[in-house]
Symmetry: C2
Subunit: 232 residues, 2 copies
């Protein structure tokens, strides 16, 4: 950040200390382990927010710590370095995405109309993910505008897999004539870009159009437009 906000730690402390042991019959003498995980998670969530809004270089570990309501030295304690914290954040994002977008290919033969409905549902699910977790695309876009060791790492561990899965999805739709027979990689970026931008650029949308992409009605209108354009 390095802008205003004189720094204000001690925001979590109270709420996190609440409930020393919800389960009276705690299986083990955790309570400390519990607090530890809460701190660890708070740092990760803060990192997601600050990294996604400021980029790696623009984000400072002290800003992240302040956002988490935690002393900045704890970042080194839990994640060793800014770079490893970034990697932990990216890992979290892609593992969550894999979990939430888990593919369940409906076995058995399907009519073309059924497959089209299936494709529409899949597209809807993806847009919903983008809408609910805009920090994912924000963080990745900031890293993908230039080549770097971080982009190389993210590509090797996550982006490559996700991209080729998307390519397979596109090719399947092309086989059914649901997408034009054009370059599959190009279509991947066309669809992904079309789905993400509305939520990634939400602050701009709010200023320019006076509408909130996070709003249920607005979001449904966007999804409908997207599906109408892509899955004919």
């Amino acid at each position: 950040m390095s802008t205003s906000t004189p720094s204000r730690p001690a925001a979590r402390r109270k709420t996190a200390r609440v409930k020393p042991a919800t389960t009276p019959q705690a299986p083990r003498p955790n309570l400390r382990e519990q607090q530890k995980e809460a701190t660890r998670a708070a740092i990760l969530q803060a990192a997601l927010l600050v990294f996604s809004e400021h980029g790696f270089n623009g984000a400072s570990t002290r800003d992240i710590a302040a956002q988490a309501g935690v002393h900045h030295a704890l970042i080194k304690y839990y994640y060793q370095s800014k770079d490893l914290l970034w990697r932990a954040a990216v890992s979290y994002l892609f593992e969550r995405q894999a979990k939430e977008l888990m593919f369940q290919p409906p076995a058995g033969p399907m009519t073309r109309a059924a497959r089209r409905e299936e494709a529409r549902a899949a597209l809807r699910r993806y847009v919903l993910y983008c809408a609910r977790h805009p920090e994912h695309a924000r963080l990745m876009v900031q890293e993908s505008v230039r080549d770097s060791a971080r982009l190389q790492w993210a590509t090797k561990h996550f982006i490559s897999n996700a991209s080729h899965a998307a390519e397979a999805f596109v090719r399947a739709l092309q086989k059914d004539g649901l997408l034009p027979p054009a370059s599959a990689p190009a279509l991947v970026y066309i669809i992904v870009g079309a789905a993400q931008s509305f939520y990634t650029l939400a602050p701009e949308v709010r200023r320019v159009w006076n509408m909130d992409p996070a709003d249920e009605t607005v979001m449904n209108a966007h999804i409908d437009a997207l599906v109408a354009v892509f899955i004919r």
Copy 2:
């Protein structure tokens, strides 16, 4: 940057001093004015590159100066502050875009088929701009992922106008049945996102797909895919 690269100024100096007066019959005793404008332009171009790849906070004025091959104090001399340099860069981008995408509405009545061809040509022109000047979208995306005084300024002076022009374009296509009757603002972000992402994320594309969006063949394949999807 704050990463590696120990800093290496003095890269321009020589090439910029070349040609003290190309025109032997110089109209006035410029030569100094000439060098001044060269320095000013070098700083602006460097700012475009560094801001677009690192974001405002992630970019340092010293990095920009080094990229321009100029002493860092000259940034204050020519642009007064980092913030004003950023505004100058954004102004340059949008004025160039307005110039290159100047609308020439073909007078006289047109058949629907002709209007469709017109729409395809307009879309092609826009994608070409994105491909040739990826730093434009990169810089703006970095600012639009969060609300800030800079986004507010850019919205007021440029983004609002450009967005509403795009909306008018979309509504015209909808009237002809060339785009589905969905939310126009949503369609704007769908089309813009679909057109930009392939070039904005070019470093990622190169790593994942081993293809270069700047390559003529690859670019044409992307444009064809885009037109096939949107203008039916």
